[in-house]
């Protein structure tokens, strides 16, 4: 080639060599630069990056404690934890969330309810990398089809966890309550207290109502921790250290499953509440409101449809009649006001009055009728109790006056929630002058006292209060605060009296005489509950009550057939037994049950026999 003639190969070679040497030097220096950089990272910054890398792989993860179990007095399990497999999604690890959900839907099928829940949970605030539950209680087929396809769905896991289960479902729904998912509001509440936030850092369920809520502290337990090694996708490779959670303590309640199941059976088709109390200890043996519901529905989240069905049911299955149903005590109040008359000296056991079927206050047109139009004739305290003579109580109430009656009734716990561990129980209403002035801006009239004498008018009680008062009555004025809890772990729970004093009567013999009168409610031929006598096994001291649901106008005939079923009178019944040495006190309210002797009475009687029968033989 012609260029070659201009060339000087030696000079060319020299030039190339010098350039190669220069580049060689530059390359050496740059490699030294890389080495220096590596040395800087690996020597100077070694500690920093060593820590970073440790943090990368180590995660401290809280481990939720197992919730304590709940037993009844016979050691029957009322609330247990059963393993359940849930499908979870960790959005941080999912590649195409929507696609994954659609695929899962084809695989196992989500119900409308589950879609709703998934959407809510996806939109809720949560801890980073915390899995979201897509579906609870997977069946074995579902688990199988998910596991087979898991590689196509990053971020999807099947998680085993213990879920609360109530084996006796509806029997204990109101009294035990239930646990449910910690909601936003509860989470905010927990977050306020650093200690609570820590304790609940791995917990998904919390007691929502009933004993589950009341004993949350005991049942919950202490969170544990495990130090795990995870890969970059957050999957646990191995557990390095573990501090086991301390499971919640078990609790044993005074509740007796036999009574609870019997109450449910006996109250079939009725609306009402039943409370039974162990007189000696104050332990609540039974607390049943009918109709009931299945608390298991609420544990992992109830569907709108299920909830609407319960909410819109006219029989109000979600309503706990035993602690939140407030009814006029009607004639079941008579033993208590009767004692108030005696205590205030307004009358004595021997005094008799004549009942023509009505009572009238001096200078008042208004006629207060006895339930028996023809009147009871000559009655004393005992007769008035047995036949439930209204006129007698009208008269004596006026004699004693509200200022004697109301404070005396208060000693039995009326107007307050006197239980240890049923925080939501309503207090009922025990009226007095101050209350009326405050509430109605009006004076207390003699007519108000007349009504109060037979447990009508303003006064309201819950079945729980009635049972409590009955227990105190049966226990001759000695208080045992009603409570559900019997033992925490192995240790029986000691409970002090509380702030209420035992009732001291001026004549302690009046307790026995009142008991005798109440026994005759069943044994006497004219007793209002005499029809229970034929089933007599134990001697029972009882009192019936019939609470008006609608005010009947003065001269109108009361025709129960004409009234819609729901406007019929409520039937009430209180009792304790055995009369001479009472062990159990029972109060039953049957809404629109009309005749206590036909509806509420037999229920109470069955409960008592079951309990005493079981207790004694």
């Amino acid at each position: 080639m012609w260029e070659h003639s201009f060339r000087d190969p030696r000079q060319e070679r020299r030039l190339f060599r010098s350039r190669a040497i220069i580049l060689g030097l530059v390359i050496f220096l740059l490699l030294c630069g890389l080495a220096w950089r590596m040395a800087y990272l690996q020597i100077t910054l070694h500690e920093k990056y060593r820590d970073l890398s440790e943090n990368n792989r180590m995660q401290l993860r809280p481990v939720s404690p197992n919730r304590g179990l709940i037993y009844d007095r016979n050691g029957v399990l009322l609330a247990e934890n059963i393993p359940s497999y849930s499908l979870t999604l960790t959005p941080e690890r999912a590649q195409d969330q929507q696609h994954t959900l659609t695929f899962l839907n084809e695989l196992i099928g989500f119900s409308e309810r589950e879609w709703e829940q998934i959407e809510t949970r996806l939109s809720q605030r949560r801890r980073p990398f915390e899995p979201i539950v897509l579906k609870h209680r997977l069946s074995e087929e579902e688990i199988a089809s998910i596991m087979v396809n898991r590689n196509f769905m990053p971020g999807i896991d099947v998680e085993a966890q213990l879920v609360r289960h109530y084996p006796h479902g509806e029997d204990f729904a109101h009294v035990l309550g239930y646990v449910g998912r910690i909601n936003q509001q509860e989470q905010n509440q927990l977050d306020l207290d650093p200690e609570a936030k820590r304790r609940y850092s791995a917990t998904r369920f919390i007691g929502k109502t009933g004993a589950e809520k009341r004993y949350e502290d005991i049942l919950h337990g202490e969170v544990g921790y495990e130090k795990v090694e995870t890969n970059a996708r957050g999957r646990v490779i191995r557990v390095i250290e573990r501090q086991d959670p301390a499971p919640g303590e078990d609790i044993t309640l005074h509740l007796d499953i036999r009574l609870q199941q019997l109450a449910r059976k006996e109250m079939q088709g009725m609306r009402g509440g039943l409370v039974a109390i162990d007189i000696e200890t104050g332990g609540i043996l039974s607390l049943y409101s009918n109709p009931s519901f299945d608390p298991n529905l609420f544990v992992t989240g109830i569907s709108h449809a299920d909830y609407a069905a319960l909410r819109d049911n006219l029989d109000l299955p979600l309503f706990d009649r035993t602690t939140r149903g407030q009814y006029p005590p009607a004639s079941t109040l008579k033993p208590f006001v009767g004692l108030a008359f005696l205590e205030s000296g307004s009358t004595s056991w021997s005094e008799t009055i004549t009942d023509h079927g009505w009572y009238q206050l001096p200078n008042d047109e208004r006629i207060y009728r006895d339930w028996k139009r023809t009147g009871h004739g000559l009655v004393n305290m005992e007769r008035a109790m047995v036949e439930s003579c209204d006129t007698y109580f009208y008269e004596m109430a006026v004699r004693a006056g509200i200022d004697n009656i109301s404070p005396f009734l208060a000693q039995f716990g009326f107007g307050r929630n006197m239980t240890l561990d049923i925080p939501n129980a309503l207090p009922g209403l025990l009226p007095d002058r101050d209350w009326k002035r405050g509430r109605h801006g009006n004076f207390w009239f003699a007519g108000d006292t007349v009504n109060l004498g037979i447990g009508q008018g303003y006064m309201l009680v819950t079945p729980l209060q009635l049972a409590t008062a009955t227990a105190v009555l049966g226990n001759r004025g000695k208080w045992q605060i009603p409570r559900l809890i019997y033992a925490q772990g192995e240790q029986p729970v000691e409970v002090a009296h509380g702030d209420i004093a035992d009732i001291q009567l001026k004549a302690p013999r009046d307790w026995d005489r009142m008991t005798t009168a109440m026994e005759k409610v069943i044994t006497d031929l004219r007793g209002t509950a005499h029809r229970l006598h034929q089933r007599r096994t134990y001697s029972i001291a009882a009192k019936t009550g019939t609470a008006q649901v609608v005010g009947i106008k003065q001269d109108e005939e009361y025709d129960s057939e004409a009234l819609k079923e729901r406007l019929r009178d409520h039937a009430l019944f209180i009792a304790y037994a055995p009369a001479d040495n009472p062990k159990i006190a029972v109060a039953v309210v049957i809404e629109n049950g009309e005749s206590a002797a036909r509806t509420a009475g037999p229920v109470a009687q069955s409960i008592i026999y079951e309990y005493l029968g079981g207790a004694e033989g």
Partner: protein, 381 residues
């Protein structure tokens, strides 16, 4: 034509020891024994690191071993062709490369938002830019070798036009990393050809001045993002900063002695991204520590120095230019990769030569060494 000095040095090196004799044997096979041994050593280390970086995938190690086997075969073949062959082939290879690159831009196959692959019927999917890595420096050398030394300014400008064409096309794909590497390889040829220092500095100034223009008009958003992330990786710790943070953590936590082979938590627990390809040196740094890194750097240094030494002894200007520029390009790969993984350069997709997993890269790099060996072993023709 034969240079007497040159012949004498060749004869000197052939005297005496058994090593030299076997060296002569290799010379007849157009191979350079020391370079070949160094490359084999590098390949062996590569397999060792890959086993760990791939999460103990025997399958991947086997495939990579196959890549090496093919690569060394290509090296052996490439070394057999005389430099004149490459010189004559250069314009055709270059033109073919340009046509294929145009093809990529027109109907290339995309991945991750970039069009880099070409699927031609009957051929496996391939990246034409890989061909350019070899064809471009040879083409520029072909051009410069015909010009007087030192080259005139007009020739240099023409050479730069030749090299800019494919560079711009690769930039369009877009593939910033490869286009910079190819441009550098071409410019190195011009540098070796004797471009004056004054011109080099002016050009450097020009590039510096062009940088803002590049930023505003040429670079894509994701490329800008990479540069921004490079400047401050902590600004996006879970996004584009993740890679560099994790790789620095892997390197730094390795310390001087390392955590032990297969014991690196960053890589074994998959915190380190692309641990078997671009970020494989972080695996080495974590598990074998600074000692391992320095050994690898030394290995690279010896390879490059051997190549430069050999190219300085080439007979023709063309051979010197080709082998010298390929050797320095190889170094640039090393530097860019390690600089990027250790956080002193922005993240551009450049594999660690002969260590990162990947068939195309291994084979084309070994082919380049084959070309280098061809340049230095065919001194008499």
């Amino acid at each position: 034509m034969a240079n007497k000095d040159f012949s004498r040095t060749i004869n000197d090196s052939q005297g005496g020891s058994g090593f030299s004799r076997s060296s002569a044997l290799f010379a007849r096979a157009h191979l350079d024994l020391p370079l070949l041994l160094l490359l084999l050593l590098l390949a062996a280390s590569g397999l060792l690191i890959l086993y760990s970086g791939s999460g103990r995938s025997i399958e991947m190690v086997e495939r990579q071993a196959l890549h090496y086997l093919l690569g060394f075969g290509v090296l052996l073949a490439a070394a057999q062709f005389p430099p004149r062959f490459y010189q004559q082939l250069a314009p055709f290879a270059y033109s073919l490369g340009v046509v294929l690159l145009a093809g990529v831009l027109l109907f290339g196959v995309g991945a991750k938002g970039a069009q880099r692959w070409l699927e031609l019927p009957g051929l496996p999917r391939f990246q034409p830019s890989e061909l350019m890595k070899l064809a471009l420096p040879i083409m520029v050398a072909w051009y410069m070798a015909k010009r007087p030394v030192p080259p005139k300014l007009s020739d240099i400008i023409k050479a730069i036009i030749i090299l800019m064409m494919p560079v711009v096309m690769i930039l369009k794909q877009p593939d910033l990393g490869t286009s910079i590497l190819i441009a550098t390889a071409g410019l190195l040829v011009v540098f070796f050809a004797g471009m004056s220092w004054r011109l080099i500095f002016s050009l450097a100034t020009l590039v510096a001045a062009a940088a803002p223009v590049m930023w505003l008009f040429v670079m894509r958003d994701y490329q800008k993002q990479r540069v921004l992330t490079f400047l401050n990786p902590e600004s996006d710790p879970l996004g584009s900063g993740w890679n560099i943070i994790q790789s620095k953590t892997a390197i730094g936590s390795g310390g001087i002695e390392g955590k032990g082979w297969l014991q690196g938590t960053q890589s074994q627990l998959e915190f380190l991204p692309e641990s078997h390809t671009d970020f494989i040196i972080a695996v080495l740094a974590e598990e074998l520590g600074l000692i391992g890194v320095l050994l690898l750097l030394t290995l690279y240094f010896f390879i490059i120095m051997r190549c430069l030494y050999l190219s300085s002894r080439c007979e023709t200007l063309f051979a010197r230019l080709v082998s010298g520029s390929l050797a320095v390009t190889f170094f640039i790969y090393v530097f860019v990769n390690i600089g990027m993984v250790s956080g002193i350069l922005p993240v551009v997709g450049v594999p660690l030569p002969l260590v990162s997993y990947g068939g195309t890269s291994v084979i084309s790099l070994l082919a380049a060494f084959g070309v280098i060996m061809s340049m230095v072993t065919h001194n008499k023709h």
